[in-house]
Symmetry: C2
């Protein structure tokens, strides 16, 4: 009785006729109660409601729990309470480096506060996204949507069932974390103006991306302020390949500097322009967006406007967790700062 440890390792297969579970079935609060000589409900309180039981009983129960290597059964807990200590994060594209920081930031925050994070991706499809969200809805306490592609209405539907925080988008009535693009864009445009550029092209992202509109607005405003001409060019898709395809339009536009919706577009664009014999940045300057992993692999390394994605992930998770614990009620819209990361792909325009 006092030393059941080594025996336990061999007994269960013998005395439990149908273990059913993968291995040996784990101890329950009933086992602890028996060992500590108290009622199961007291055990439950000792382990989840701090201060509800006397210090003496508390210790008794904790020791028993430790001895049995007890771990709560999350399902048994979730069933009556609905609490799962799990968060869902849905990103538009797992392979898009933009999201790495978000994933990491959110994961770290969740783990630090004793939550587990479930990750799903929508592969850029609004339908897949909604399906994934619906599927996870039942098993998590809250959801973070990073750059969601679904309609506002759908997001609001989800938000009615469980707390939702969106990143890179703003939806009326839903808490959000969004990079404030203006600072970074302002720095970039001023820099380009100072380097002699007079016309800037902005290569847009997918129309359903909320962020591409914000960035274009930012570019337009900054250009007006600096008395620069600017023009928006559509892209087929926000990838390296999409960047290659838009190169022809960029040249045709007559702009000497390009800002793109994201770094992937910028990298593809640069590859294509260089392949066509153009010098970057001597003939054309390129500025990307996001400062993704790999942005400095290129030659020249990519100048880009960094959005602190890790912070976005951290902030979003914090926001969500605070909401779950009855914190801030005010449907906040957090902003994080962007900044220009000056590398080799932008610079002084040389007369050609």
């Amino acid at each position: 009785m006092s030393e059941p440890r080594t025996q336990d390792l061999s007994e269960p297969p013998a005395d439990a006729p149908k273990p059913a579970r993968g291995g040996k079935s784990s101890p329950t609060i009933y086992d602890i109660a028996k060992l500590a000589g108290v009622n199961p409900s007291t055990v439950s309180r000792a382990l989840s409601k701090p201060g509800r039981v006397s210090a003496k009983t508390q210790k008794l129960i904790e020791d028993a729990a430790a001895q049995l290597e007890y771990r709560v059964n999350p399902f048994a807990r979730a069933l009556p309470t609905g609490r799962t200590n799990t968060l869902a994060l849905i990103v538009a594209d797992i392979t898009n480096p933009t999201f790495f920081g978000i994933i990491r930031g959110a994961e770290a925050t969740a783990t630090a506060r004793d939550y587990t994070m479930m990750l799903a991706e929508s592969a850029e499809s609004p339908d897949t996204e909604l399906t994934a969200a619906r599927r996870m809805l039942a098993t998590v306490d809250g959801i973070i949507l990073a750059s969601p592609r679904m309609e506002d209405t759908r997001i609001l539907e989800l938000a009615r069932e469980k707390p939702v925080v969106v990143i890179n988008r703003q939806v009326e009535g839903v808490p959000s974390v969004v990079p404030d693009v203006n600072k970074g864009i302002g720095e970039a445009v001023r820099n380009l103006a100072a380097n002699g550029h007079r016309k800037i092209a902005y290569v847009a992202g997918p129309p359903q991306s909320w962020m591409t509109a914000r960035r274009w607005e930012g570019v337009k405003a900054a250009c007006e302020w600096s008395h620069l001409e600017c023009v928006q060019l559509p892209s087929t898709k926000p990838t390296v390949d999409g960047g290659r395809q838009v190169a022809r339009d960029v040249v045709a536009s007559g702009a000497t500097a390009v800002m793109t919706y994201n770094d992937l577009l910028a990298i593809g664009l640069m590859q294509e322009l260089q392949a066509a014999g153009m010098q970057v940045p001597d003939q054309i300057s390129i500025v990307g967006f996001d400062d993704i992993f790999g942005a400095d692999f290129t030659t020249p390394a990519l100048t880009t406007i960094r959005s602190p994605m890790t912070d976005c992930g951290t902030e979003a998770a914090t926001l969500l967790l605070d909401l779950l614990h009855g914190g801030g009620e005010a449907v906040p819209a957090l902003q994080v700062e962007t900044e220009l990361v000056l590398r080799g792909s932008s610079g002084r325009l040389l007369a050609s």
Copy 2:
């Protein structure tokens, strides 16, 4: 009674005094049973045990379920059965592109077979890894460990509780999926030999990585076969930065071609060598490993040995799901093929 739909939408908030749940509480099998005029257990059978109830009753129940927009409560199901329809994937580093393919492949497979995937990362720490694994153990049906850093013993402990599949490593008695490096390495070494190289350096990865040893063995064997000299160089860490740091040793080694444990090392190495004024590939050829995202961003683009990581993820998930459904018992060790991806960073050695 026959048209409770529109009423139901407004009633619950009214007649349920304590919704407790985030929104309105969802319908249960009891609601379905009432609506269909059968016993709850019959509903349960109709929805999970195909063929156990008559076609007529089945339809009755399915219609009622559809009408109520019923969705099973995963916790209620998991509690008695232990089944969760959830898989855990633990990777060493979320930001390391090597794992993107694994994540995506595993996620897609899981989703296709109606499982949800939970993702965790260990940040390269054996302890964090074990903690994460233990935490998820209770809530998932099985675990995929991608490039695990923990000891064999620990992996075996986990495997005793729930089915485990490892990627990029082999552990006695645990099913695994591992790229067969020899084909790709053979192609690479033959190509280097044909281009006039006589001495090859291999930049190793972290000592606790099972894979770095396999790759070195492969390089050594292929070099012997092609009568090339080869030497192994340690690195501080398997990142771009680690690659930069090892550049000096590479030059000192006198090798004219370098193969690295992974692409990140190769990219860092190339950056540093180019910064020091060396021509790639004219003076030194560089071959990476994995063909990660961004491997073609560099100038010249990186020659590398591609491991089909997406396949690894797919295979691992398939293996695990088959195990869970009582499939293959034989503790398989799957191999996936590697291949040389010839780009610009390797080529003919020019006399200097």
